[in-house]
């Protein structure tokens, strides 16, 4: 039987879906809405720097970034093809989507380590 990448991409997709569901809403709520609106004070740079100083936090952030980006890439690939009727360009769309996810992951690693 011919082996394909598909199961691994689906694994990244579902893992990313779970991580995005558990982690992103609270982070967007805090940093994107409540702090900018002044409902909550911004933590000091020292406090946030201290959090990012922990190697486990940096590692977790890289995992979150990579999984979430692959989840998004997988959905954007299939949805754009269905919505815009561009399924015949699947190879190009897939390269753009997963390429974007890989680029984001590399940037995250470079930023954190």
């Amino acid at each position: 039987m011919r082996r394909t990448l598909e199961p691994y991409l689906w694994l990244l997709f579902s893992g990313g879906g779970v991580v995005a569901a558990l982690v992103l809403p609270v982070l967007v709520l805090l940093f994107g809405v409540l702090m900018p609106l002044g409902v909550l004070d911004w933590p000091t740079a020292g406090h946030l720097g201290g959090l990012l100083g922990n190697v486990l936090v940096r590692l977790a952030l890289v995992v979150v970034v990579v999984l979430c980006l692959f989840h998004a890439a997988h959905r954007i690939r299939h949805t754009s093809e269905e919505l815009l009727g561009i399924a015949r360009f699947d190879l190009v769309v897939a390269l753009l989507c997963y390429g974007g996810a890989i680029t984001g992951g590399v940037l995250a690693v470079m930023l954190m380590f």
């Binding site: 995005a20 992103l24 809403p25 998004a72 984001g104």
Partner: protein, 131 residues
């Protein structure tokens, strides 16, 4: 001699997603992924600002009205993603305990409790942490 008939291609329905409510919700759910990607970019910008000593500049950017509007949309989209994705779990996972199949609401309830717990832990470390 007649030319061979062209292969039949049904006409594409460009507005298929607007035909039924289920299709629209399906597409909206899929489009939450764009905001998932944006949220990740936003977090990377935040981390970059913290590590580069530019948190004040980032806070000013995040307080721009268009940025707040974008993040309110991102919050709605990531919550919609979370609810739909966590509710989907019983379709993908069948849990049997000694022949008794765990009902869907228990798996979904467990997922939503975990979501709440993880959110509380993250909020604790972001806002307070152990001094």
């Amino acid at each position: 001699m007649k030319a061979p008939p062209a292969a039949y291609r049904p006409r594409r329905d460009h507005l298929w997603f607007a035909r039924t409510r289920n299709y629209t919700i399906f597409v909206l759910r899929e489009l939450t992924s764009v905001f998932v990607a944006w949220s990740v970019v936003f977090l990377l910008l935040l981390a970059d600002a913290v590590l580069g000593g530019r948190l004040a500049g980032f806070a000013a950017l995040a307080a721009q009205p268009w940025m707040i509007a974008l993040n309110v949309l991102a919050l709605a989209a990531t919550c919609f993603h979370a609810v739909t994705f966590l509710n989907l779990a019983p379709k993908a996972t069948v849990v049997r305990l000694d022949g008794y199949r765990l009902p869907a609401w228990m798996i979904q309830g467990g997922n939503h409790s975990l979501w709440l717990a993880v959110s509380a832990v993250i909020a604790f470390f972001v806002l307070r942490g152990f001094h």
